[in-house]
Amino acid sequence: MDEQSVFIAGAAGEGIQTIGDVVARAFLAHGYPVFAVQEYESRIRGGNSTHRLRIASAPANAPRRDADVLLALNPEARNHYAVDLRAGGTLVASEAVDEQTIVVPFHDLAVEHGGSGLYANAVAAGALAAVLGLPIEIVVRTLAAAVARHGDAAVAGNTSAAKAGFEVARATLGGRAPKPLPKRENVYAFLSAHDVIPLAAAAAGCRFMSAYPMSPSTGILTAFARDPELGVFVEQAEDEIAAIEMALGASAAGARAMTATSGGGFALMVESISLAGMIETPIVVVLGQRPGPATGLPTRTAQEDLLFAIHAGHGETARLVFAPADPQDAIEKTVRAFDLADRYQIPAIVLSDQFLADSRFSLPALSLPSEIPDAHLADPNTIDGEYRRYALTEDGVSPRLYLGQAEALVYLDSDEHTEEGHITEDVRVVRPSMVEKRLEKGRRLRGEVAPPSRNRDEDAETILLGWGSTKGAIDEAVARLRGKGRRVGALHFTELWPLPEIAWRDDVDYWTIEGNATGQLARLLASDGGLRIEGRIGRYDGLPLDAATIVEALA
């Protein structure tokens, strides 16, 4: 099949979520991978939003900025998104804009055939099936499964409505109607990165999650609450400071713990990040980025908090900053974040963003890392004499007991402290050695972090440098540019701090591609990687980076 980019546009509350869901699942059931992006406003009802499906024969897990098909549930949405419909694309709407419009009176057909306006979404899904060449039976089955719990009447209403939408659209398409797509045997998992972070955390032994709701990370908290079998204690804190402090307390008392927030909430956690560094207590913080500053665009995406995450907190401490590229990577990074936070007794920050939170990828299979190490706790039987929570060691890591683990007493202290964990004012010996201890962990960590992933960089003359959620778009851009004969490759960072050591080549032009305006990766590579870049591409409008934008910028 030809790839199809479908924008389902409407107001919040109108059902674009459901329509997209049904169409996507129907395609997946038919053997076609779908990539689904949510674009919406910060409100509960009204406004303009889209559910964007990218349907292809092989997974294309990156956003498209233009639509081949625009289905608009209302005139305002239709006008608003008309510019995104490519020339020659198909508009599906309740009323004609021009002769090409596939007119499908969603509401009226729903009333007529389903018996209620409530089935307008089914009409729309049916219409899309016709436009896209998807057999209506599959849509009907998918719909039926989705609404089964509402009873037979709902199933029947939806079925008739979907069929009506299908028929009307097909009739209007006439000769333009595509032939039905053949069924394929391929099977995909369809999910977002935030769908798997809670599962990966639980697999890593996370036992405690406290957070304060904030888009785009609220779903992580909710997922734990929805699945009590995971055994994770879940608490909605009174504010973000309480959220991270509860988690740190729990961690110190032996529970692997995490929190999740966005930039504004993370800003409130900054003092506690510094605390975690000082008391050497592991903690995992998911920072779901959205465009700032301040409240910014709460439901949109950005990569603006990389340097903030690296430098957040007063004083100097070791930490990890990861930025997964996709759901499978999110599983791995989450597990690794728990493991390394625990092993080095440091805070680990996982940088996600609204795009990763809300976009569903089609992936052939998902897997947990083959090994998930246990908590790196000390064996109390090996402790001789008084326990020293901050015992000086070669690698800076002290044997860790949790509060109440054994008779050995554990002192955790936010002041500069002795090896025993007591306040010290010894500036001659203790202070310098504790500073070196804590920073030695960072030096060791630099040996742990993974280098950037490589994509056709060997013979490249231009190398694109990206991080986190933009991998799909950048890889697609590389493929397209290669298609045009450009010797382009990419290096993609998902482990950003400590910055892995990289041997830069001096025969290539390096470009950074980021979802921000100031070039944060570029600055990081200059300060800590010794790289001078050739140019940078930044997107900062709140929408995810896409391949076309990158290709154009490099033209």
Binding site: R25, A29, H30, R141, Y188, A189, L191, D195, V196, L199, A200, A202, A203, G205, R207, F208, S210, D227, P228, E229, L230, G231, F233, E235, E238, I241, A242, E245, A247, G249, S251, A252, A253, G254, A255, A257, E271, S272, L275, I279, I331, L366, S367, L368, D374, A375, L377, Y402, L403, G404, E407, A408, L409, V410, Y411, L412, D413, S414, D415, I423
Partner: protein
């Protein structure tokens, strides 16, 4: 058997000689001994301030964290390891000023921890600024012409939130305070004890001034009567009823439903969820062919 000796720490005490903080320290030590708690069964939690140094001076587990953040840390500790007797011991500035929001919401949660406020009505460690409990009109090293706002009413706030144990203590009464703290610690649910602790360096009134104004809670006081508790709790400029103002056992303790599910042990000892269970959940994202 646990003795006070077991709790003796060799760490140099940084408080001013003669400070009533020593009274709280001793009373707490005695209370723990009286309850038969061994040091490794106890975890003290504090923020930053003079009071907040206390955990260094008792031999038991301790978290001496950030200014204002003792309460959420203690709640996390309590949930992760309920076997520990978790006691917050920190200053009025710490718990009522910087940390006011956490205390307010702790009243709602009713975690099984004890909160001891060293209420010296001053920010001592930062050298004498008003704390949330400094009386209106009292001059300080920052409010030179006297504090111009009203003191916080945290005991009364606890009572209106149905905090399950609300008490006022006096650091100058070792006997009474150690008994009171033992009761507070033994209580299941949040025990909140505001201890009058006159600072002899920055405070306006010496211990003796308070001693004259401290009165025991009337013997006929019904500690389950909210209104009666409120009138004892509200600040009066020169009468400080000491004892249990309010107590109820009627409320579930924080995290109870979770405990019913996972049991009472430390979370660190729970078996990790199986790979298979996670893999099954991951598999559920696969959209099956129809």
């Amino acid at each position: 058997m646990t003795t006070t000796q077991d709790y003796r720490s060799s760490i140099e005490n940084q408080w001013c000689p003669g400070c009533p903080n020593y009274g709280i320290l001793t009373a707490l030590e005695r209370a723990l001994v009286a309850l038969g708690r061994a040091p490794h069964e106890v975890c003290l939690v504090s923020g930053i301030g003079q009071a907040a140094k206390l955990p260094h001076y008792l031999r038991c587990h301790a978290w001496n964290g950030l200014h204002g953040r003792a309460i959420p840390a203690a709640i996390g500790i309590h949930v992760a390891n309920p076997a520990l007797t978790t006691i917050v011991t920190s200053g009025d500035g710490d718990l009522y000023g910087e940390g006011g929001n956490h205390l307010l919401h702790a009243f709602r949660r009713n975690p099984d921890i004890t909160v001891i406020v060293h209420d010296n009505r001053i920010y001592a460690l930062t050298k004498g600024q008003a704390s949330p409990t400094t009386p209106r009109g009292e001059p300080t090293r920052l409010q030179f012409d006297g504090v111009e706002i009203d003191p916080a009413q945290m005991l009364a706030t606890a009572v209106v939130h149905g905090c399950t144990f609300v008490a006022r203590g006096f650091a100058g009464d070792l006997e009474g305070l150690s008994t009171l703290l033992a009761r507070a610690i033994a209580h299941r649910g949040l025990s909140f004890v505001d201890v009058i602790q006159p600072c002899i360096t920055w405070g306006k009134h010496p211990l003796a001034w308070y001693r004259e104004r401290v009165v025991p809670v009337p013997t006929d006081h019904d500690a389950t009567d909210r209104n009666a508790a409120l009138s004892l709790a509200l600040d009066s400029p020169d009468r400080f009823p000491v004892g249990v103002l309010y107590e109820t056992a009627e409320k579930p303790v924080f995290a109870e439903s979770y405990r019913v599910r996972v049991g009472d042990g430390p979370l660190a000892r729970l078996p990790r969820i199986g790979r298979a269970a996670i893999q099954a959940r991951l598999a559920a994202f696969v959209v099956n062919k129809d």
